[in-house]
């Protein structure tokens, strides 16, 4: 078993989640870790993928804060608008005025948002046991861990696909590849989204993902393992 885990990162992550459930998992998070994750051999189209994006004040979870959370689901490799969600997170106490202007989000909007911990718990309700999609996975992962008071090396109860990693895997020989979301979209002939918020960016990420899946798999069936490995 351990040998297979060595070569199968999905299995390895599933194992880490089990271990965490046994030791170190806060009681109120246990139900999330009890869920089974998709198998590495599973077909991607048979699983729900939730594309998410956070708007934050910066990239350091210790000093920066989540402003809003948006997401949309991909089912059968089709983005389904009716599954989209978006909410603000009440970190108004920490918001400096100048950063609020940049994000078009005012302290008033935020003060009507969800409490930070509750916001992340509600997100976990959607994500646990599924495949999560982000662009640059570390930002979202680290902010979630920070909000849940988890250690940096703790596993999260879902599999994660990363469009940034997938894009790099498709251009292995290019050293200075620009992997910002908007550049990737431009390169892939996707329409330009001028507005930016957590929901638009999660949609933009989901669209990029669909194009990458076609590039990687062509006519063959997309599997979880291959995408997880490249992410």
């Amino acid at each position: 078993m351990w040998l297979r885990r060595l070569f199968d990162p999905v299995l390895k992550h599933q194992h880490a989640c089990h271990c965490f459930l046994e030791k170190g998992c806060p009681a109120e998070l246990k139900k999330y870790y009890e869920k089974n994750l998709p198998l590495s051999s599973a077909k991607v189209k048979d699983h729900k993928i939730v594309s998410i994006d956070f708007e934050t004040t910066g990239i350091d979870p210790a000093n920066d804060y989540i402003l809003s959370i948006g997401g949309i689901e991909i089912i059968d490799l089709t983005i389904d608008f009716s599954t989209s969600f978006h909410y603000y997170v009440n970190n108004s106490a920490h918001i400096k005025e100048d950063s609020a202007i940049i994000n078009q989000i005012t302290p008033e909007i935020l003060s009507n948002g969800k409490e930070p911990y509750q916001g992340i718990i509600e997100l976990l309700d959607r994500l646990a046991g599924t495949i999560v999609l982000t662009h640059c996975k570390f930002i979202e992962m680290n902010f979630i861990k920070e909000a849940l008071n988890l250690k940096k090396n703790a596993p999260l109860p879902f599999l994660i696909f990363d469009t940034m990693g997938l894009e790099r895997s498709l251009h292995r020989n290019e050293n200075n590849l620009d992997v910002t979301l908007s550049t990737i979209r431009q390169r892939r002939g996707l329409p330009e989204y001028t507005a930016h918020n957590a929901l638009v960016d999660s949609l933009a990420t989901a669209e990029v993902f669909l194009t990458q899946v076609k590039d990687i798999f062509g006519d063959t069936e997309a599997t979880v393992l291959e995408l997880y490995r490249r992410s």
Binding site: F81, S84, L190, P191, K214
Partner: protein, 620 residues
């Protein structure tokens, strides 16, 4: 969900016809139900992956559809285009397949949300119907359609109720006083609550005073008994059309058969910008060529007003035709005065579009003179003078001389009834395509001036001969179907059946004429002498040659094509460009593109059907 979060999707969807017709709420619902797929170049979709799921909308990319049966081109679509209407109600097998020519981001509007919208919003409901003609019927809300609340004023709204009512036994003087009292130009003569006649101020002046009639005679002696009336729910344009057609200035308005009020030219002028009623009247009163030429400059303004006011294309054509008729008629009167009494009975006859009352701004003149008897050289000299006078002055009045010389001043088209009958017999018997092409203008005829029996006789002759000659009918249909409508427009091109891209659409040759020609053939087959395209299609339906649905399809397509044609001509007039029937696709709105495609599909389908119909009877 707050739509400000997804401005791009909302904007794209809400700017795309037909979703522009949705309320904000409905648009929100729709936008939040969209599904997005991505396909690579060369991928193909068919059967249950596309049937019964919904409508497809291209966000970016390029798609071609091809018929499953013979792989022929069915359509080509790019950003903003919608396809899949006819797949919506299907299950399993699809009649065409979808081929991606470029990487494509494809939006799917699921059937469930479309069904919801159809239930909520009747306008979009008709648009989303899987039948082309129902979609086309949703494309317009003409000002002269009764059910249009915004622009369609009805006669009831402007009718005057201050009526001068008299009984048949009231004397002339009392009637005149009643008119004064009610400040009215007409008196309605009533008997037992029924309208039995009308009297106008000029009746009293001309029929009574001028002739020295005693003013205590009953009004019934001078009243007009066959009264033209209009229904209260009819539109102002119907009233205008009637006033032009019958050259009257007042119309009694009836509501469920009872007198409701009256409308006058003055009240119509107050309520619409149309001076066409007066133009017609002035043309007919005109005695000088120079004045007539002056008047003709108003044609453009009238055409522009009619198109801008969104009057039904059929009404526009009828009004423009009537004005054209008036010019010819007054010129013939002037001509007869100038050259003396005609040596024999004759008719000055409109051919082509004017015969069908389909004159539009571009129409040149097509006409002929038919004499009741064979004419000798002196008589011919008279008619040639008359014809040249009329043709040349019509040219000066903005009805250009015909390129093909299909005009009365051409000796070939100045002939006796017998000769014209022989022409028809030759065309029908010899059945040569050349002869038919050169003569087809004269397959439609309408008397503008003179003895109406001649054309009647000639048309009956034509129909009798043509109907019984299946080869002739088949040849005519074959000639017509040699021109196929385009498949659609695509980006800046017009896409032909063979997949070629053309820079422009000739809306007359590639679409409108094809319907006119089919309608003509069907009418002949139905034994109808009508020259109006709508009436012809109706007679074909009544004679069971085409189904009711076919009739609706063709009329809707025909109406829409003329709508597009007139609006583009209006645009050209505004930009001081030369008018033509050429439409450059980049000037088409998404709305027009979608509906033009529907019209083309209808034409192509009917060409196929008509070819079968007319060649079948050949026994081939």
């Amino acid at each position: 969900m707050d739509k400000s979060l997804l401005p791009n999707i909302y904007e794209f969807v809400s700017k795309t016809y037909p979703f522009t017709l949705l309320s904000e709420f409905e648009r929100d619902i729709m936008a939040t139900k969209i599904k997005i797929n991505y396909y690579k170049k060369d991928e193909v979709l068919e059967n249950d992956s596309i049937t019964g799921v919904g409508l497809f909308m291209i966000r970016t990319g390029l798609v071609e559809t091809r018929n499953t049966e013979d792989n022929s081109l069915h359509g080509r679509f790019s950003m903003g285009d919608i396809f899949g209407f006819s797949l919506m109600e299907k299950e399993g097998k699809s009649h065409y397949k979808v081929i991606f020519l470029e990487n494509t981001l494809l939006y799917l509007l699921p059937k469930s949300v479309l069904n919801y919208l159809i239930a909520k919003n009747s306008t979009i409901g008709t648009y989303l119907n899987s039948k082309e003609w129902v979609r086309l019927s949703s494309s317009h809300h003409y000002a002269d359609e009764h059910n249009n609340e915004q622009t369609g004023k009805t006669v009831a709204m402007i009718a005057s109720h201050d009526l001068s009512l008299v009984s048949p036994d009231d004397d002339i003087k009392k009637t005149a006083l009643s008119m004064e009292q009610h400040n009215s130009d007409i008196s309605l003569v009533m008997e037992d609550n029924n309208l039995v006649g009308i009297v106008t101020k000029s009746d009293i002046t001309l029929k009574a005073v001028a002739r020295g009639l005693e003013l205590n005679k009953p009004i019934s002696t001078i009243m007009t008994r066959s009264v033209k009336t209009i229904n209260s729910h009819q539109s102002l344009f119907d009233a205008i059309e009637m006033m032009i057609m019958y050259d009257v200035k007042n119309l009694p308005v009836l509501d469920e058969g009872k007198v409701f009020g009256t409308v006058s030219t003055t009240s119509l002028m107050r309520n619409s910008k149309l001076q066409c009623i007066y133009l017609s009247h002035e043309i007919l009163q005109c005695h000088e060529i120079t004045r007539l030429i002056e008047l003709s400059s108003q044609k453009q303004e009238i055409f522009e007003t009619l198109v801008k006011t969104n009057v039904k294309p059929h009404t526009i054509q009828k009004i423009m035709s009537h004005i054209a008729d008036n010019f010819a008629q007054v010129l013939l009167q002037m001509g007869e005065q100038k050259f003396g009494t005609p040596p024999c009975k004759y008719a000055f006859v409109a051919a082509g579009s004017q015969a069908r009352s389909e004159v539009q701004f571009l129409s040149d003149q097509d006409n002929c003179i038919i004499t009741a008897t064979q004419i000798d050289d002196t008589q011919r000299q008279y008619f040639e003078q008359l014809a040249s006078f009329v043709n040349d002055n019509l040219d000066k009045c903005g009805y250009p001389l015909c390129d093909g010389n299909y005009m009365a001043k051409n000796p070939r088209w100045l002939q006796s009834l017998e000769t014209f009958k022989k022409y028809y017999d030759e065309w029908i018997l010899n059945n040569s395509e050349d002869a038919l092409l050169s003569g087809s203008v004269f397959l439609d005829m309408r008397t503008l001036y003179g003895d109406t029996n001649l054309v009647k006789d000639l048309r009956e002759h034509l129909i009798k001969r043509a109907r019984s000659n299946t080869r002739f009918m088949a040849t005519l249909m074959k000639i017509s179907a040699a021109v196929a409508p385009p498949v659609g427009t695509f980006r800046q091109f017009v896409l032909t059946k063979d997949g070629d891209n053309k820079p422009y659409l000739n809306i007359k040759k590639q679409a409108i004429n094809l319907i006119i020609e089919m309608a003509r053939l069907y009418a002949i087959a139905a034994g109808s002498t009508s020259v109006d395209t709508y009436e012809r299609l109706q007679s074909a339906y009544k004679a069971n040659l085409i189904k009711e649905e076919n009739y609706k399809e063709l009329t809707e397509a025909y109406t829409f094509l003329n709508y597009v044609r007139f609006n583009h001509q209006l645009q050209a007039l505004h930009n001081h460009e030369e008018l033509s029937n050429h439409i450059v696709p980049k000037e088409l709105s998404q709305f027009e593109r979608n509906h033009l495609r529907d019209a083309f599909v209808i034409i192509a389908k009917h060409q196929k059907g008509a070819l079968m119909h007319f060649s079948h009877s050949l026994g081939v």
